[in-house]
């Protein structure tokens, strides 16, 4: 971990974030916009997959996926700035570790969506109930992403445990 911290602190990106005091607050603000886009679009997609809000045409939720990716891209980019801006803090932080694990789990869950749901969703009944696998993937997605949000918020409070 010492090696990772030493390397990350020595990068040009790290020096840029540290030297420009406005980078951090702007990145934080953008991180909140990204979070709202990511979770807003996922709320619609996943709650409908669980079988709630049946007035939403489930086949149309597909059109929200670009927003999920835009939100994620904004937060990945700004997240990288935070990490390199303070590697000594994040590398050893327990809440940050949990957050990263949850993002990986959410990513694997998204792969499952592309494998099991994406190829067949256009054939589903617009306002009908959903199969168990869709309910499971939708519920897991919301649990993982809200977990990501909560543990992200806890980074300043959980420290190194």
């Amino acid at each position: 971990m010492e090696t990772i911290i030493a390397w990350a602190s020595s990068t040009a990106l790290s020096i840029w974030v540290v030297d420009n005091m406005w980078v951090w607050p702007i990145a934080e603000t953008l991180h909140f916009f990204g979070l709202s886009l990511l979770l807003g679009s996922l709320l619609l997609i996943d709650m409908r997959m669980i079988g709630w809000f049946k007035r939403i045409d489930i086949r149309a939720t597909h059109a929200l996926l670009p927003l999920v990716f835009i939100g994620f891209a904004i937060n990945l980019a700004t997240g990288i700035l935070f990490y390199f801006g303070d590697p000594g803090r994040y590398t050893i932080n327990i809440a940050f570790h949990i957050k990263m694990i949850l993002i990986v789990l959410a990513g694997l869950n998204a792969l499952l969506y592309y494998w099991k749901i994406d190829p067949v969703i256009s054939t589903w009944e617009a306002h009908g109930n959903t199969p168990l696998i869709a309910k499971a993937i939708g519920a897991s997605s919301l649990a993982f992403w809200f977990g990501v949000l909560i543990f992200g918020r806890l980074i300043p409070y959980m420290g190194t445990g």
């Binding site: 603000t29 979070l35 979770l39």
Partner: protein
């Protein structure tokens, strides 16, 4: 002792400010509530300005109820966070801007909601949305964006 000093001495402020879990719990709740309110409202507004037309405006009648649950969660967690540093917040310009923006955004959301309740089925039949509704959608995005930006700036633009 004024009202804000009194608030800071209250049992709630004590719990939020001094207990191990009070502040992080309220802050995490405030984040969850924000994702729900602003997430759903952003989706509605994007739909109103013409994105993803396959999702009917009628489906937002139910979603907006959930958004108001997020709003209440954030009002309550926001009040708890406020008490912990009431005298600081009440003199913070970004905080006052944030509260005013949310006040206007809340009125805007309530007006949009009642318009949706009345007209969603008609609008979903493929007619052009009234200009006033599109203006309200853009105002909504703007006001919530101001709330996010000003909220973040509270920690950076200290009161003199």
């Amino acid at each position: 002792m004024n009202t804000f000093e009194w608030l800071e001495m209250s049992a709630l402020a004590e719990w939020v400010g001094a207990s191990m879990i009070g502040y992080p719990l309220m802050l995490a709740s405030h984040g969850v509530g924000m994702a729900i309110v602003i997430g759903i409202i952003f989706m509605l507004n994007l739909r109103l300005i013409g994105c993803f037309r396959g999702i009917s405006l009628g489906s937002f009648n139910g979603l907006l109820k959930l958004a108001w649950c997020g709003f209440v969660l954030n009002f309550l967690s926001g009040c708890a966070l406020f008490t912990a540093q009431a005298t600081v917040f009440i003199e913070s310009t970004p905080f006052l801007i944030k509260v005013f923006a949310i006040f206007l955004a809340g009125i805007n959301a309530a007006l949009l909601q009642s318009a949706l309740r009345k007209n969603a089925d008609h609008w979903d039949s493929g007619v052009e949305l009234p200009r006033s509704v599109q203006i309200m959608a853009v105002s909504s995005i703007t006001l919530w964006s101001i709330a996010i930006i000003a909220g973040r700036m509270i920690a950076y633009l200290d009161v003199a």
